[in-house]
Structures are given as structure tokens and as C-alpha cells.
Symmetry: C3
Subunit: 347 residues, 3 copies
Amino acid sequence: MTSKVYTLAELANFIDAQLVGDSNVEISDLAALQSASAGQLSFLANPKYLQFLETTRASAVIVDHASAEHCTVGALVVKDPYMAYAKITQLFDQSIHRSPGIHSSAVIEAGCDIGSEVTIAANVVIEQGCTIGNNVIIGAGCVIGANCIIGESSTLNANVTLYHSVKVGCRAVLHSGVVIGADGFGFANDQGRWEKIYQLGAVCIGDDVEVGANTCIDRGALSDTKIGNGVKLDNHIQIGHNVIIGEHSAVAAGTAIAGSAEIGKNCTIAGAVGIAGHLSIADNVHVTGMSMVSSSLKTAGVYSSGTALTDNKTWRKNTARLRKLDEYMKRLLKLEKKMGQAVEPRK
Amino acid sequence: MTSKVYTLAELANFIDAQLVGDSNVEISDLAALQSASAGQLSFLANPKYLQFLETTRASAVIVDHASAEHCTVGALVVKDPYMAYAKITQLFDQSIHRSPGIHSSAVIEAGCDIGSEVTIAANVVIEQGCTIGNNVIIGAGCVIGANCIIGESSTLNANVTLYHSVKVGCRAVLHSGVVIGADGFGFANDQGRWEKIYQLGAVCIGDDVEVGANTCIDRGALSDTKIGNGVKLDNHIQIGHNVIIGEHSAVAAGTAIAGSAEIGKNCTIAGAVGIAGHLSIADNVHVTGMSMVSSSLKTAGVYSSGTALTDNKTWRKNTARLRKLDEYMKRLLKLEKKMGQAVEPRK
Amino acid sequence: MTSKVYTLAELANFIDAQLVGDSNVEISDLAALQSASAGQLSFLANPKYLQFLETTRASAVIVDHASAEHCTVGALVVKDPYMAYAKITQLFDQSIHRSPGIHSSAVIEAGCDIGSEVTIAANVVIEQGCTIGNNVIIGAGCVIGANCIIGESSTLNANVTLYHSVKVGCRAVLHSGVVIGADGFGFANDQGRWEKIYQLGAVCIGDDVEVGANTCIDRGALSDTKIGNGVKLDNHIQIGHNVIIGEHSAVAAGTAIAGSAEIGKNCTIAGAVGIAGHLSIADNVHVTGMSMVSSSLKTAGVYSSGTALTDNKTWRKNTARLRKLDEYMKRLLKLEKKMGQAVEPRK
């Protein structure tokens, strides 16, 4: 495959940077400071890597004003090098961009409204009544249930499945294995047997949402499950029925969010977190990895649970003690009392 | 899409309810008490929502006898409103029900026995020797390995994968992305290298089982992995080889059950639980979310592990102490001893 | 389906065992000691099952020299019965082995190099520029992005998805629902909005790797995500961008490994473990189930975190105490001080 090549001047222009050095230098790739070689562009976003700046073999580096003086190769000087790096990555994306068109093997049922410049790959199935916006790309093997709406310029990678009546906004990216609109987990217990509660809601996904590989977003029980604009979901995430995720929140891989939980805006939920159902989380809440959220979080902040890793032998001892923690603490309180001391007022 | 419309009289008849109000009122949808509007039916299952009953704009509400007097609109009076609601949801299901038939793009290999009134969607692949019962629905893109048996009236949503020799009972619902019968994780270590143990068993799934999106059930090493009648599995669940799950147990999303674990009947396992291999769990055990089950549970009851969420700063302090808990508890015991006191007999 | 049948002599020869008993006995299947019947072969690998050896109805048993004397039926005597069992399982694998060939419904784009004796099943899509080695098997519904390379004798089960430019070594087994090469989760925050960082690296998978159902391996941000030779990954695993896993390590189901983590060789990571990003784990590290690894592990050993299961009532009490553990421990230290005692030097 052939890489695209840009001059340093073109790149400076693209990210609105001040160019220091030879504006004709050609850049064909991006790389980390330590591993970059000639023809590659790098960036310095974290001061702890400053040591690598002077010895990098990159042809140029994106730096901020403070670091620019340490740069011995071409420099693209900007206020925020990490953001500039992020923006410039799209120029070097090696994904194959196909010419629009509908593959002969695709099955498109009656009553669909397919926009212009749409790409529909092999073996795609689009059931009746769907609306597919302009410039949408649908990868091979995707199945789109009846009456779905997909907004302009969204991309479904291969083997995505949408159930019926799912709405996806514009510029969404859905990765392979994603399942949207499967039934929420709803059953009523009838003397030991489970009666299915049919899930009558749908899923509504905003604009600029990315959904990682094999992530599931279930349809609502009565009203819709809702994913706000700009939300970013990593792989292997479970979103239960009627969950609402506020705009521009991001959730890392392996997190499970139970039904009817409501997550605020601009939250970051780290990986493998569990969030119980029927609770609400305020805007700007940050939850660290593997935490268990079992009640509402009403104020912004950083929250955690879980225990730290130790060698297994120590862990076994500590765990045995922890199982009796309440008993031990009662003994501690008795000791205090016996010594005529309440060390500090009990909260 | 057009909704189905029922009169209140028809609905009362369907759930065997006492009708209070105008039997000709038309109902086209279900909604929660707070959000319902004219033409919608709601329900009151939890007394804490009683406040919403008097102000609901629903055209009718499913209530129990005690709440009926507070209902200012049409009422369907039953003993168990939640169960009545569950039953009535099926009437309002918006899923598209297709006419039976086999799509021209489906590939059905030799030696298959396909029942009557079967629906096989586009791009389905059914390998040799399969038996597909009457009224089965197989969604687009499903791949069914050789020698599988699928019981009557089961539904496979789009993009389900069954490996060879999997048996699925009657009235099962398998959601998209489900993989049944992949190899169990079996390897023997040969001086640092892993020798594959071929997985010679299969998977046997009972009647009335629901399996959520992207859930995996591995085939057995020698004998079969077995899922009992009426079991309900949520999304993103991992069932290891030779696991046995008893009838009418339910498992929530993200739970992983390691090989050869045996779960009893009528258990409920919450989300993101981990269950170690080669243990057994009694009937009627309930495990709360994110718990780690590492030994057998011989009696019915509710079990938990994990730590509660706090602000990150407090968590850091507590975690540091917890790492030394055994040491601290030894110091507590020494203090007790020094004071000539064994506060309570040690268990 | 018909089973293969072997004489005991053939099996003894295959695993290089000493045969005790009738060499003409026919074996058609493998089974556990307790459940085996005539015509089946069993094995005794764990001394605790010795009790079942004398009463087994198996026609023969793989045993070590010490146990051979207790064997009342045919015996295949070897040094390591478990390894011998592992090797012999491949003889009884019931998977259907198809004749090589390309199904008429498969879509293979221009510029692909397809080896000899390759099997490509129905509805497979192979995009432009791929290289498929000899004897590769690609199951129904697989989608292989542009410019992928798949080594000789690898098997992709049905519905596997590879994004562009993924390299898979020889003799790999990828199970259904696997997604390799989806975008790593990379975004830069621009005043509350997330700017996508295009993921320019790829994924490079070594020889003899097995990847379990629905596992995801993300492509690298700049350089490649790398899975070493002989690595075995179970189902539902998340491998973030730029992760490196050393040769012959094994990871159990449900584990999530965040971006840029580096796992050593010959490690075993149990199920549902969370490993934070940008850390490194030494060779021969073993992490127990559901542990949280949040910093580097520099020496071989067994590591754990998490809390043990109790009944829910006890758990609630312990958890409440744990939330105030730091406060309680300060009170303990004050008590010690008051008693003029520092029980042991503080670490």
C-alpha cells in the first residue's frame, strides 16, 4: 500500500502551526519520538519524554513553544501538541476508502431510502423501511433491521448488527461486532419461571458517537435507550435498556452499565467498571478502573473502589482478616472504650 | 410503522383483569406512568410510584386491588400488575414478523431437515446434517455448523454463530453476536508450550432459554456444556466448557463462569460476577453484582464480595491500609493481649 | 455422524505409550473415568480420582507408571497422562473437515494471493491485497480487510472480522466473533469534545496463537499491537492498542488489558482480570481471577487482589467498616501510642 506524503509546510498549514526548519521536508508517516526515522513526524506532548527530543531521528516534531528550543530537527510549534497530533493522524490513515456504490450481493429490502454517495459492501442486509443518509459507509456483512435511520457520513464497519427501529446520528463510527437494539434483559418471575417482558423501546444514538468492537447497546423496555452526542464507547461495553449517557462522556472497555442508569455529560468511566441500574451520575464524574458504582453520584469528582494487587500470600492473609473486619473493628472499639478513650468522635 | 390497537376490553380479557371504566377505550402503546399520554396503557407495580397514579395522562393503568381506588382513568385490576404488564408487552411488540420462507441467498447444505413454517433470512449458512424445527426463525447472516439441532419456534437473531453439533431446545431466543459451541479453553503445558486439548463435547441448551447479545457458551471438553430449561442469560456472558446451569436460573450481563462450574436451579447471578471453575452453587443462590465466587456455595442465600465506592482520595488511603491489614490486625491482637483482654472468643 | 475408531495398539503408538492388555480393543471416544463406558478411553491425571480407576467402565485408561497397577482394564502407560490425553484428543475431534475450495458465494477482491489447499466458505469477503497461506480455512461469513496476511494452516471460524493490514501467523485458530484490528480507543479532549486520534498501526499475531470467541485485539495507535508466538487467549478478552503479549502466555476469559501494557512470556492471567495501560509485567507472572493490576510487576510470582465472598449481611458490615479503614487504623495507632507501645516497627 502506498502512503500519502505531505510537505512540512502543508502539515503546518493543516494544524495552524508555526514552522521552524525546511518547509519542503516530506513526511510520510507518524511515529513516537524514540522509534521515529527519516520521513516521519513525531510529537512531544508529555514533558517526561523531553529527553528523547534531542536525539530523535524524526524529520520533524510537533512541539509547544517551551520545548521548541530543544528541537534539533524540523518543528511544528503549536499551543497543544497532543491535539495537533490527534488532528494530523487523519491525514495518515491507511484505511481503504472505497468508491461509493452498492455491492451486487447486498440485499436491500423494499421501502428503504438510500442517500447519495453511500457505500454498501458485500453481503450487507438492509431490511425494509430504513433510511440511510448521504455518504454513509456500511461494511461487509452488516445487518440493519427494519425501520432504522442512519445519519449522514456515519460508518458501520464489517459485521455490525442493528435490530429494528434503531436511530444512529451523523458521523457515527460503529466497530465490528457491535450489536445495537437487542432486547433489554427484562423478565418477570412467575412462581419460579421467567415471563419475558417484550422490549418496546428502541435505541437513539446522537451525532459523532463512536462505539467500539463487540459493544452492545440494548433497546429500551418502554422508552428508548439514549446515547448523547459526542459519546465515545470502547470495546466490549454493555449498555442496558433505558440507560442514558450524556453528551461527550467516554467509557473504556469492558464496562457494564445496568438498566436505567443515567450517566451525566463529560464523564469518563474507566475500563471494567460496573454501574448498577436505576441510579444517576452527575456531570464530570470520573470513575477509575474496575470500580463498582452501586448508588448515585451527585457531585463531580473522582471515584474508586476495589483493592490493590499484592503477592498472593499477603493477599490471602489480608482477605481472611477482611472477612472478619466488622468483628475486629468492634474489638478495636471495645479496647478504646476500656481505655476510657474515644479517640475521635465517631462519624 | 403502524402500531396495533386494542380496546381496553380486549386487554382485560387477555390478562384476565377486572375492567373499570370505558371498555371501548383504544390502546396503542405502553408507557411509564409519568410519561404516558392518551392512547397509552401504564402500570403500577411499585407502591413508591403511587404518587404518579393520580396525575397520569395514560388512558388506562394496570393496578392491583389496593391501588385501584386511586386510579382516575381506566383501570385493569389484577393481583400482580407487574406480571400482567409483562404478559401484555407481547401484544405491542414492534418486531417485524416475516412470512416464513427461505431467502434465495441462504446456503443450506446437504442432509438438513428443515421443518415447516421456517423463516431463513438472507445470507444464512446452514451446514450439513442440521435439523431445524417448525416455526424456527433464523436471522440474516447466521452460521449454523454441521449437525446442529434447533427446536420448534426458536428464534436466532441476525449474526448468531453455532459451531457443529449444538442442540438448542424449543422457543429459545438467541440474540445477535451469540457464539455457541466454540472450543473450551483447554491446553496442557508442555515445558512452556501449550498443547491444545481438542474439545470433544458439545453444547446442549434446554427449552425456553434466552441468550443475550455477544454471549458465548463454549463446547465441553469431553461431555456437554448444559443450559437448563428456562434459563435466561443476558449479554456479554462467558460460559466455560462443561458448565451446567440449572433450570430457571438467570444471569446478568458481563458475568464469566469458568469451566466445569455447576450452578443450581432458580439462582440469580447479577452482572459482572466471576465464578471460578470446578465448584458448585446450590439452588436459590443469589449473587450480587461484581462478586467473585471462588468456592462452592452449599446453601441458598444472598452472597457478595467487592468493596464500596468512595471518593478517590479516601479510597487511596483505605487501600494502602488494606494492603497491610493482616499486620494491623496482629497489632490489634497484641494490644488486646497486653490489656489482659480477649474481647470475645476468637472464631 | 460417524466416530473414528482406533485400536489400543494404534493409540499406544500415537502417544508412545506402553500398552498393557489387549492391543486389539477398539476405542471410539474419550470420556471421564466416572462416566466412561465400553469402547471409550479415559485418563487419570489427578491422584484424587484414583478411586475411580478401579471401577471405571472404560475399555482402557491412560495412566502413569505408579497408577498402572491399579488399572483393571487396558492401560496406556506414559510419564505424563494429562499431556498424553491432550495429544490424543485430536484423533477424536468431531469437527467437519471440508475439502478445500472456494464457495461460489465468497467475494474475493483484486490483488489477493490465495495459497493452495485453501478452504473459503460461504459468504466470506476478502478485500483487496490479502495474502492467504496454504491450507488456511476461512469459515462462513468472515470478513478480511484489505492487505491482511494469514499464515499457513490457520483457521478462522465463522464470522471472524479482520480490519485492514492485520498479520496472523501460521497455525492460528481464531474463533467466531473475534474482531482484530478495530481502532484503539484514542481521543484527545478539546475543551470537552473528543477529537479522534486515527489509529495508524496494525496488529501482528505470531504463530500457534489461539484467540477465543468474541475477543477483540485493537490496532496500534502508531506502531503495532503484538501477540507473541504460542499465546492462547480465551473468549471475551479485550486487548487495547499497542499491547504486547510475550510468547506462550495464556489469558483467561473476560480479561481486559488496556493500551500499551506489556505482558511477559509464559505468564498466565486468569479470568476477568483488569490490567491498566502503560505498565509492564515480567515473564512468568501469574495473576489470579478478577485481580486489578494497576502498576508494573517486575518479578515472577503469583499476584492477587479482590475480596472474598461472604453472605450479604456480613459483607455489608465489613464493607461499611472498610470505607472507614484509614480512620480506624489511625485510631489503632493512637491506642498503641497511648499504651506506650509500638508493637512492631512500622514499615
